[in-house]
Structures are given as structure tokens and as C-alpha cells.
């Protein structure tokens, strides 16, 4: 490969990494919004006298995301693991939010 070809590849790699960082920032912003919504639902659940932990709802969230991952052409199992973490994070935030 020519010297130019190598520098083109390096520039493209740098561009890809920048794009990945933008996506990561976006994911973090979306997760913050998700946690905030979780806290809002926690307040509504408390007002309605419902428990914070709702395994049926969590299972439905995971099932929905499994199908979405499959439709998007990515392996569903790692996505399920990621979303169990996200669901858990949201649940902790709900449990810790002031009543």
C-alpha cells in the first residue's frame, strides 16, 4: 500500500472513532433521559400504591428489545444483557428516588 493509502486509512479510522464517540455521547444522554423517566414513573407508581419492582413489565421490555435487535440485524443475546443492565439501573434509580 502506498504512503497515501496508509494515511487515507488512518484518516478514515480517526473519522470512524469520532463518529463512535458522538454515538457514545448520545447513548449516555438517552440513558440519562431514560433514568429521569424512570423516576417519574416511580412517583406515579407510589401515588397509585403500586410496587416499584414490576417483573412482568421488565420481561416485556426485554422481549420487545430482543425482537427489535433481531429486526435490526444484530445479535439479540448481547443486547438482552445490555438491557437487563439498563432495566436494573433504572430500577435502582426508582428505588432511590425520594418518595
Amino acid at each position: 500500500m502506498s504512503a497515501d493509502g496508509t494515511s487515507d486509512a488512518a484518516a478514515e479510522l480517526a473519522r470512524c472513532r469520532e463518529e463512535i464517540e458522538r454515538i457514545d455521547d448520545e447513548i449516555v444522554r438517552l440513558l440519562a433521559r431514560r433514568v429521569a423517566l424512570g423516576k417519574r414513573t416511580a412517583a406515579l407508581k407510589r401515588a397509585a400504591g403500586l410496587p416499584i419492582l414490576d417483573p412482568t413489565r421488565e420481561a416485556a421490555v426485554i422481549r420487545r428489545i430482543t425482537a427489535a435487535a433481531r429486526d435490526a440485524g444484530i445479535a439479540p443475546e448481547p443486547i438482552r444483557e445490555v438491557f437487563w443492565q439498563i432495566v436494573g439501573m433504572s430500577r435502582h434509580a426508582q428505588e432511590e428516588s425520594a418518595p
Partner: protein, 350 residues
């Protein structure tokens, strides 16, 4: 509890079964094999008592797993697990048809000795380089390993030889550091029940070589693997390395029977460390032959360019020449056991 699905089960049916189990407060683990797909249930099985699992679409049978280990149990996986070690440039696999041999010095003592050993390991057919950086020594006054410096040397030699690297992690504080430099993290016999270390290893994306403790039962070894797996890392290779008995003629007693017992109980690969088991270089080859005959998926062997001057475990280290001779001898044993000896040269030709 495991659910075996019908051969023609659809993704939607599997999703539905898992949703019902997860809505009851349990977690599920999916294992897709060539012949069948298994949904493993993890958690308090009493939660499932009310569920009509057998009548859900796609379910063929429901079987309780009575063993205390679930993810590690043979029943939970449709096929045996193959654990791949290394990246694109340096790869090896434990648990396939081929027997994989990891070899190298007990401790990394310097660049020259590590390079010489690695080249000898590669030439003789070894496909993984072992080398201690942080050493658990019985005496606090004994050589403790070169630490970070050794990790850097291992990474250099990995790059120059293409051999993936396995090294021991003793401290939860070192897990990320070692995962950056090595392809596989080893839990030594003394740490087999260090549960905080095992849990931490569940969170890294590196395969783990888990050695049996010197007074641990097979069940305790499998429970230790379960700790790593239940924390999210299913890439575990088990290693029988001898247990403490009343016998003093050998350093430890290699529990050969543990190999077929483990292969019956778990889908995880099982390898043998003949160096620590016997504690004597002269015993390494015969114990390796026995391990292969009993069904081991691989070996981890200590090789040192100058065992007499080794800073640790000189008595049980093979010279490069003795290692090469043993590898030639093992070839026939592997074939007799219906296996082959994996080697980097064969891999390159493939």
C-alpha cells in the same frame, strides 16, 4: 430448570417462553446447538411452580437441574463449549477436537528468556504462551514476579510470535490491567474460592483459566466457575492441577478421574497442569499422556530455557528440548484418543 424446545421452534416462541419465565422474576440463558435449543432458568425455581411451562408453544420438555451449578452444568448447554483465546493475529481454542497446549515459564524473568522460551514453545507446537507476572508464593521472601514489567514483555512477545498469552491475576485491583495485556486470565489454585476475584472476572471480556484448588472438590471447582459465569463471563476453562493427599513422593496427586467426571458434569473445556501436579520435570510427560487418555482438552506446561537457574519452580520445568520431545510423543496419544494436537504451523497451513 432447563426447557428443551421443539426442533422447529420459532424465535417468537422462544421470546414468549423467556418472557413468561422472566416475568416470574427469573433470568434465562439461551443455548442454541446443532440439534436442539435449550432455555436455562436461573433463580429461585419456586417462582416457576405456577407456570404451565410444558404447555407453552415450542416446549418439548422441562427438566429440573438438581445440581447446585446451573450455567456450568452439562445440561444447560446444547453443545460443548469451545473457548477461543486471543484476537485475529493470535488465536487458539480450548475444547475443540484438537488438544491445545499452553507452555512457558513459571515466571517471566526477562525479555531474553521469555523470547527464547516462546520461540521454542511455538516451534514444538504449543499454541498459547504462559508466563507469570504476579506470582502467589508460599513465602513472602520468595521472588514475587516482575509485575507490570512482565506484562509489557508478554505483550511484546505475543506480538512477535503470534502466541496468545495467559497469565495469572491474584488481585481484583489488577484485573483491568492484566486484561489489557493478556488474552486469557488465570485464577491460580490458591485463589479458586476468592469470590470477589471470581465476580470481578465475570465482568471482563477475556476468557478465564480456572485452576482447581489443592483441597477443592470437583463440585467446589464447578461452583467457582458458576461464580464467574453468573457474573456475565461464560468463557471459562477448568484446569486440574493436582490435589493435596498424604502422598509425599509427588508434589500433589493428579486427580486423573476428575477429568472424565468434569467432562460429564460440565460443557466447559477441561485441561491439565502436569507440571504443578507432579512437581517434577520427569513426571510431566507421563502425566500429560494420562491426561490426554482421560479426555483432557489441553495442557498447561512449564518450560524454562535453563530450569536450573529458574527463579521459581525450576524442578518441574521442562527444557525446550524436553518439551519438544514430549510434544512429539503426545501426538500419538492424541490420535489414539481420537483427537489431534493443535499447532500453530497446522493452523497457518489450514
Amino acid at each position: 430448570m432447563i426447557i428443551i424446545t421443539r426442533p422447529n421452534v420459532t424465535d417468537a416462541e422462544i421470546d414468549h417462553i423467556r418472557e413468561r419465565i422472566e416475568a416470574a422474576g427469573m433470568r434465562t440463558h439461551l443455548s442454541r446447538g446443532v440439534q436442539r435449543t435449550i432455555i436455562g432458568c436461573i433463580g429461585d425455581e419456586a417462582l416457576l411452580a405456577e407456570l404451565p411451562l410444558r404447555s407453552l408453544p415450542g416446549v418439548e420438555s422441562v427438566t429440573p437441574v438438581l445440581k447446585p451449578y446451573k450455567l456450568a452444568s452439562r445440561e444447560f448447554a446444547a453443545d460443548r463449549t469451545v473457548v477461543r483465546v486471543g484476537g485475529r493475529e493470535a488465536t487458539a481454542a480450548f475444547g475443540g477436537t484438537a488438544i491445545t497446549v499452553a507452555a512457558g515459564p513459571c515466571s517471566v524473568e526477562g525479555r531474553d528468556m521469555l523470547e527464547r522460551t516462546a520461540k521454542a514453545v511455538l516451534a514444538a507446537g504449543g499454541t498459547v504462551l504462559r508466563g507469570g507476572a504476579f506470582k502467589p508464593r508460599t513465602s513472602p521472601y520468595a521472588f514475587q514476579g516482575l509485575g507490570r514489567e512482565a506484562l509489557a514483555l508478554l505483550a511484546e512477545v505475543r506480538a512477535s510470535t503470534g502466541l496468545p498469552v495467559v497469565t495469572e491475576v491474584m488481585d481484583t485491583r489488577h484485573v483491568d490491567l492484566i486484561a489489557e495485556h493478556a488474552d486469557m486470565l488465570q485464577v491460580g489454585a490458591r485463589n479458586m474460592q476468592n469470590f470477589s476475584l471470581l465476580a470481578e472476572l465475570g465482568r471482563v471480556r477475556r476468557p478465564v483459566l480456572l485452576k482447581r484448588g489443592i483441597s477443592a472438590t470437583v463440585k467446589e471447582l464447578l461452583m467457582a466457575a458458576e461464580y464467574i459465569m453468573s457474573n456475565g463471563n461464560s468463557e471459562v476453562v477448568l484446569c486440574e492441577r493436582g490435589i493435596r493427599t498424604y502422598e509425599t513422593a509427588t508434589r500433589n496427586t493428579l486427580d486423573v478421574a476428575a477429568i472424565p467426571v468434569l467432562k460429564r458434569e460440565t460443557h466447559l473445556p477441561v485441561i491439565v497442569d502436569p507440571s504443578h501436579a507432579g512437581g517434577d520435570a520427569a513426571l510431566v510427560a507421563p502425566l500429560s499422556c494420562a491426561a490426554i487418555a482421560a479426555g483432557a482438552d489441553g495442557l498447561i506446561v512449564e518450560v524454562h530455557p535453563d530450569p536450573e537457574r529458574a527463579l521459581s519452580d525450576g524442578d518441574q520445568s521442562l527444557t525446550p528440548e524436553a518439551f519438544a520431545a514430549m510434544m512429539r510423543q503426545l501426538e500419538g496419544f492424541a490420535v489414539a484418543a481420537g483427537r489431534s494436537l493443535s499447532s500453530a504451523s497446522a493452523r497457518a497451513a489450514a
